[in-house]
Symmetry: C2
Subunit: 473 residues, 2 copies
């Protein structure tokens, strides 16, 4: 049985996607503007989503052997001059502390746009012998990059992220580790938890991170066909080690420069979740990510109903399901249903006096909004099975969209047209750096370069690759 399609409280996403996005942020109570332009308040439900993203990524980072650390918020301005190329990239984005402790500071302090330079200093100190390698570090922190055109969760003056920094004895080891993070941490999380298919590949020289010899990214397609870069992983060669003098004594007693990597992901992933799975009725959260997987609604203020709702919630929790009970029977039922739909909770269970009399409850899937009656005794097993089905189905739906809106092209003109509504694949030999520049005039960029079968090219400078181009956030 398909639920009656009530009118949505949101602007239709196909009518005005940015407005729909802003309304979802508001009405699902995810995030709000901070008092300073460009800053962001992450509200309880939005933060619960971020905590789940963080927990899943953190577990994978730790499995890859990296340790978390915390580095200071403030960086002496002089530090940023050490890696010239780096300052070039950030200077207009910096927030600068000039006064503290009631006085003018002798040297201004920069609020970290990244902790890269401090990691550089510390790694130089901590790495001495080949026994100290690889040194695998990560940090979860807030960073600040002054933003003139902010958009909540996508591009804000302050955001939350993780940045990993590692030092290795050989180029091969560094390259293998950057790829491991790219695939086993980021792609694995994005595909298997967030439920979004991602394109993996390398960036062109033009799009590469300043100072990197290879930048790899995970690119996802949003509901409007635009790309969102979800995470990046960089091989820095010996550039960073040279700038910060990160050296080690090898087994023969020689001083050698290290090979380093860095990699990051941020609260932007929550923006990607909204735009990647959301629909006309709000957010749609994949079960493996969802902080609330099932909400149990007591339909009526009736003692038996309230007790049954509480009991079922406990039974679900004991079965390992993240369940929440909603006993707010003093509020309109339709409003409560709309609220949970806006928040994208994967399954909604309704229990009323008639359900109790019939010995069943109704279970509604948020993704396809399909309601079914389930005998009371089978609810827990049905829910566990359905959560898995919904997870798979959301991924399939996202794959279908990506496939249907990604076109193989053989010319710049074809690629430009296809990129209006999705992604275009075009051989790099046809596109080249000139074509890339031409597309940039139309706000189309090369999202990544892949092998013909969609894998990460072993050589970042190979010309025998396919470029995926599109508009992006």
């Amino acid at each position: 049985m398909v639920a009656a399609h009530q009118r949505s409280v949101l602007t239709a996403p196909e009518a005005d996607f940015p407005r729909w996005y802003q309304e979802v942020l508001d009405k699902a109570e995810l995030a709000d503007n901070g008092p300073v332009r460009g800053t962001m308040v992450i509200r309880p439900y939005g933060y619960a989503l971020w905590e789940r993203v963080q927990a899943e990524i953190d577990t994978r980072i730790k499995l890859a052997g990296a340790d978390n650390v915390y580095l200071p918020l403030f960086i002496p301005e002089s530090y940023l001059k050490r890696e010239a190329e780096h300052v070039e990239g950030f200077s207009p984005e910096l927030a600068v502390v000039t006064h503290a402790g009631g006085k003018l500071l002798p040297e201004p302090l920069v609020v970290r746009p990244t902790s890269e330079t401090v990691f550089g200093e510390l790694m130089a100190k901590w790495v001495q012998s080949h026994r100290d390698l690889p040194l695998l570090l990560n940090q979860w922190a807030n960073v600040v990059r002054w933003e003139m055109r902010p958009r909540l969760l996508l591009r804000t003056t302050e955001f939350l992220w993780q940045e990993g920094h590692t030092a290795h004895a050989t180029a091969e080891d560094a390259a293998a580790y950057a790829r491991r993070i790219h695939l086993d941490v980021y792609r694995d999380f994005l595909q298997n938890v967030l439920g979004l298919p991602v394109l993996v590949g390398v960036k062109t020289a033009r799009e590469r991170f300043a100072g990197a010899v290879n930048t790899m990214s995970c690119e996802a397609m949003m509901g409007d066909g635009k790309a969102l870069q979800m995470a990046t992983s960089h091989e820095l060669g010996q550039n960073f080690a040279n700038a910060f003098d990160i050296t080690y004594t090898d087994a023969t007693g020689q001083r050698q420069h290290c090979w380093t990597t860095s990699w990051g992901s941020s609260t932007r992933i929550v923006g990607g979740l909204i735009m990647g799975h959301g629909d006309a009725h709000g957010l749609v959260v994949p079960p493996r990510l969802a902080p609330i997987q099932v909400v149990v609604l007591a339909v009526k203020d009736d003692q038996q109903v309230l007790d049954a709702a509480r009991r079922l919630t406990t039974a679900l929790t004991e079965a390992g399901v993240r369940a929440r009970v909603d006993l707010r029977t003093d509020q309109g039922f339709g409003r409560r249903v709309t609220d949970w739909e806006l928040k994208g909770v994967p399954l909604r269970i309704e229990i009323g006096p008639r359900d109790l009399a019939d010995g069943e409850v109704s279970v509604t899937r948020r993704d396809i909004r399909e309601k079914t009656s389930v005998p009371a005794g089978q609810v827990v097993t049905t829910v566990v099975r359905l959560l898995d089905t919904v997870q798979q189905d959301l991924h399939k739906t996202a794959v279908r969209r990506l496939t249907s809106r990604m076109v193989d092209t053989e010319s710049l003109q074809e690629a430009r047209e296809a990129a209006q509504s999705g992604f275009a694949r075009i051989p790099w030999k046809i596109l080249g750096a000139d074509g890339e520049r031409a597309l940039a005039d139309d706000a189309i960029s090369v999202r990544c370069l892949q092998t013909a079968d969609g894998a990460v090219p072993p050589d970042p400078d190979s010309v025998d690759v396919v470029a995926v181009v599109g508009r992006s956030y």
Copy 2:
């Protein structure tokens, strides 16, 4: 069998406690100075301890019903003028951003010393009806208070903390919640996980948080007999709600001001762990907190030994023990033992060829440095049992120290003398505000006021209470 007492690599704590503390930070690789004076780098092992503190406190906060949020780092300077009393307290401690985006800002931005004012603004917006109450929020974040005499993990310009802010319909509900956090979150964590006995009580009017009608704190005794305030919980009456206009419509349609609370704990708890349990050989971590509960050392580079060490570590992990294997047989054995002792890992297991031949391993408790031989087949059950024993024993040892260094006194002079080496209890009727002022001249403060049997006084302004006085960090 008691392990041979090798010479410690540390200054004796009884000889120079501050120096011992600094050496533990260094040699156990916990924390280091940042590039800006007063800032701190938290190294992997120090951060792993903090992550465990965070996880345990966060679980308890969520059980108490509060939701996490994230508020911006930057606060417009004008915000801090709204609550005059508040600015008074912080002004010399503020770091101020005057330039950003390459320009002078029209209004300077303060780097949050706390997010209190932003919470005030948001709560005023989010609370409308009595149905929105209680509103229970918490934030984990970095804050900045310019510090002229920094000490790592105890008093730094930037530190990590959680701050809870809640709004309630009645004074009773607010008071009950502040007490619940004080006892069920803070005291429970500190006593049952961190293994430190804590004195719970209220602050005197002099020591109360600006704007609070009641400040409660958990005070622990450090190895040198000084007090460390581990966490505080405040009832703010309607002061904060008046300043920020946090109001709700009650069931009869009347506008009412809310009653609010706030409460916090920080990375200082890791400092308290070091000074509360540490000994001549370094850190001593209670098992329930320990990120590594057991380290399994392969004594020799022998295939059978390495395999056995790995197998045992897996078996321990499968039994739910946080175990780590140390296969660094290319480094001196004594050095490795010293390292794990410095880090305070509760149990150390050594496996060598002779142990394998004898079908046993040696297990050493870090707290009492006692080594015993355990038959290979009983290691896992022995370890699980020993971890519990060590947890209880550490708490008992700390209770013994607190008891032996806390003296009941009946005069100012007696109290002053006792506070040189520990705490003094003195009836508030004898001490009073005048006595409190007199002790302050000798750097002795009232840590808290308790009932005669050590409980939190129901009335914060009761005079029929006992003052616990001491020197403090």
